[in-house]
């Protein structure tokens, strides 16, 4: 039995034109310098039972000193 109900989708990429990318600009996501890396991140959080998503976000904001923390979807009231 597959763990997830949604199966894996196969998608194809079509090449319209070929070109190189200049290594002087941008980075592969994993290779961004840490200060840049942290601008483009998410956490796949294993939320503990108890505190609400809102409380976790407020707590992370304080901890990390980052204003722009938000969550994608709460379980409360579901």
């Amino acid at each position: 039995m597959e763990k997830y109900l949604k199966g894996t989708e196969k998608r194809e990429i079509f090449i319209k034109d070929e070109e190189d990318t200049n290594p002087d600009y941008g980075w592969k996501p994993e290779e961004r310098p840490i200060e840049v890396y942290l601008k483009y991140v998410a956490i796949n959080l294993d939320k503990p039972v108890g505190p609400s998503s809102h409380e976790i976000v407020a707590w992370l904001r304080r901890l990390l000193g980052i204003e722009k923390v938000a969550h994608a979807g709460t379980l409360e009231g579901c």
Partner: protein
């Protein structure tokens, strides 16, 4: 976080998978339970519960699939794959109503949301706190890079359009993506679909709404292919060819 926050409106609309414990209030045989649970596959009506963040109007939500994982008397372990905005508490309640015995949701765990599931890149609060400490106090980056994942990992399931370096900065300033800027297109994109505009390095530049189908993006010579909706990449990350061109005329170098 930070600039990545702009992907949220798209992530909130992603399909979800849950595992939940439904507690029946009376005795029901296996066959009836299975039959009623199966009735909830497909589109269902749901009124958001009293304590909810949205307007309490009756709305339709789609249950893509649902299965009974285990059963122990009145406790039923359900797995549900559904559209965003489906209330599991309500679903359990409604299953109980149809069964005629009543039921409520006892426990809930979301196991997948869009491309993020509980088997990949999952971090606990402890991981996050430790990683942050290691970085602050010991300049160790690795734990931080494990707990915090690139925003690109959250949009893996969204169809992609890969663009030229020279087209990137205009998009960062909110310009729509035109056909000449496109290098690669994923198949299956329909008009009005959400698409991710990517660089050749695999960076997310912006999220947008398709104005053309995949086939049109590949065959058209000009025209707007994607309307830019949310810019993720900071302007200035790539050089702004478009500004220079405007000032000194087409054909002027970088």
């Amino acid at each position: 976080m930070s600039r990545a926050i702009k992907v949220l409106p798209v992530l909130l609309k992603e399909d979800k998978e849950y595992v939940c414990v439904m507690r029946l209030h009376g005795d029901v045989d296996d066959a009836s339970l299975r039959k009623v649970v199966n009735m909830f596959k497909g589109p269902i009506y749901q009124r958001p519960p009293l304590r909810s963040a949205v307007k309490r109007a009756l709305r339709v939500r789609r249950i893509y699939d649902i299965r009974i994982l285990e059963r122990d008397g009145r406790n039923v372990l359900l797995q549900v794959w559904c559209e965003a905005g489906t209330y599991m508490r309500k679903l359990c309640h409604d299953i109980g109503e149809i069964l005629g015995v009543g039921a409520h949701m006892q426990e809930l765990r979301r196991i997948r949301s869009g491309s993020l599931d509980e088997d990949h890149y999952l971090a606990t609060l402890h991981d996050v706190v430790d990683a942050f400490f290691f970085w602050k106090e010991h300049k160790l980056e690795e734990p931080l890079r494990q707990s915090f994942i690139p925003v690109e990992y959250t949009i893996q399931h969204i169809p992609k359009v890969v663009i030229r370096d020279s087209a990137v900065d205009a998009i960062c300033h909110g310009a729509p993506l035109t056909v000449p800027g496109i290098l690669q297109v994923e198949n299956g994109i329909k008009v009005r679909d959400t698409v991710a505009i990517m660089t050749l390095k695999g960076e997310l530049v912006a999220l947008g709404e398709a104005v053309m189908r995949s086939e049109q993006m590949l065959t058209a010579k000009k025209g707007i292919a994607v309307k830019t909706k949310a810019v993720i990449m900071e302007p200035g990350t790539y050089p702004s060819m478009w500004k220079k061109k405007k000032k000194s005329g087409a054909g002027a170098g970088i």
